[in-house]
Amino acid sequence: MDPSIAPDQTEQEVVFRLAATNEGVRAAIRNASDYIAEFNVSQEDLTSVELSLAEVLNNVVEHAYDGTTDGVVELRIWIQDPHIYIRILDTGRPMPNGRLPLGNPADVGREGCEQDEGGYGLYMIRQLARKLRYTRFGPYNQMSFRITLGAHLYLDAQSEAMNEMPSL
C-alpha cells in the first residue's frame, strides 16, 4: 500500500452528478481530477483519468442523450491503490447492438487528409483503461473501467518497442 493514499479514504466511492452537456463534462472532469489529485497520483496518471473520463462522458452526451440537454449523468470514483475504479451511469439510449464499439487509431499508411474524423475516443480508452465494460440494466447504461496507477509506464515501453520494430 502506497502511504501517499490515506487508508481511511480507500473504502469509499465518491459520486459526482453532472448535466449531460459539454460544459457539464468539462466541470465534472475538473472536479474529479481535483479530487483524485489529493491522493498524490502522478500527473501522467491524472492525464489518463482525465482523458478516459472525457471520452466516456462525451460519448454519453453525444450518443446516449443525443445532444438533448436535460439528461443527468452519475460519475462514481473509488480509489484503492494501485487502481482507480470508475463507473459512469446514465438513462439515455442503449449502445447500438448493446455493445461497445472498438474504436480505431489513425491509419499510419495514409495522409492526414485521408484520416477518419472519429473513432479515436474509444480506442484511447481501451489503451488507458482495463476491465472496460458496458452493461445495460433497466433504464440505465453503465460503463465501468479501472485505471492502474503507473500503467502509463508500461504503455510508454510498449510504444517505444513498437517504434523500434522494423517496418514491414
Partner: protein, 114 residues
C-alpha cells in the same frame, strides 16, 4: 475560441489561444479554421503552445482541418503540451502529422540541425 493567424516565412502560423480543444470547443474551432484555411500558402502551422488539453473531438476537428486543405497543402503542428502529446501518441496520429517541438523549429528546421 480565439485563433490568430500570422503569415511568417511563406507559412501561415495559426495560434490557438485557448486552454483546451474539447467537445465544447471543437465545432467552433472547425468553423474558425475553415475561414482561415480557405486561401493562403501551401504550409500552415498550428501553434498549440497555449493549449493544455485536447480530446478525441478536438483531434477530429484537427483532422477535419487537414481534410479542408486536401492533399496539396499541409497542416503541421508545434509546441504540444504533454497532455496533447499523449493524445497524439495514443491514437498514433503522431505518425501521421508533422509535429515540431517549438514554433522556431517549425519555421527554421535547418538552422537547428547545422
Amino acid at each position: 475560441m480565439n485563433l490568430t493567424a500570422e503569415p511568417l516565412d511563406n507559412c501561415l502560423v495559426i495560434t490557438v489561444d485557448e486552454p483546451r480543444i474539447d467537445a465544447a470547443a471543437a465545432m467552433e474551432f472547425k468553423e474558425k479554421m475553415r475561414g482561415l484555411l480557405e486561401e493562403g500558402p501551401e504550409r500552415f502551422i498550428l501553434n498549440m503552445s497555449a493549449v493544455d488539453s485536447i480530446d478525441s473531438s478536438g483531434l477530429g476537428a484537427i483532422v477535419a482541418a487537414m481534410k479542408m486543405l486536401g492533399p496539396d497543402r499541409k497542416l503541421e503542428l508545434c509546441a504540444l503540451s504533454n497532455k496533447v502529446k499523449t493524445v497524439f501518441r495514443l491514437t498514433r496520429m503522431d505518425a501521421v502529422v508533422t509535429i515540431h517541438t517549438t514554433l522556431e523549429d517549425a519555421l527554421h528546421p535547418l538552422q537547428r540541425a547545422s
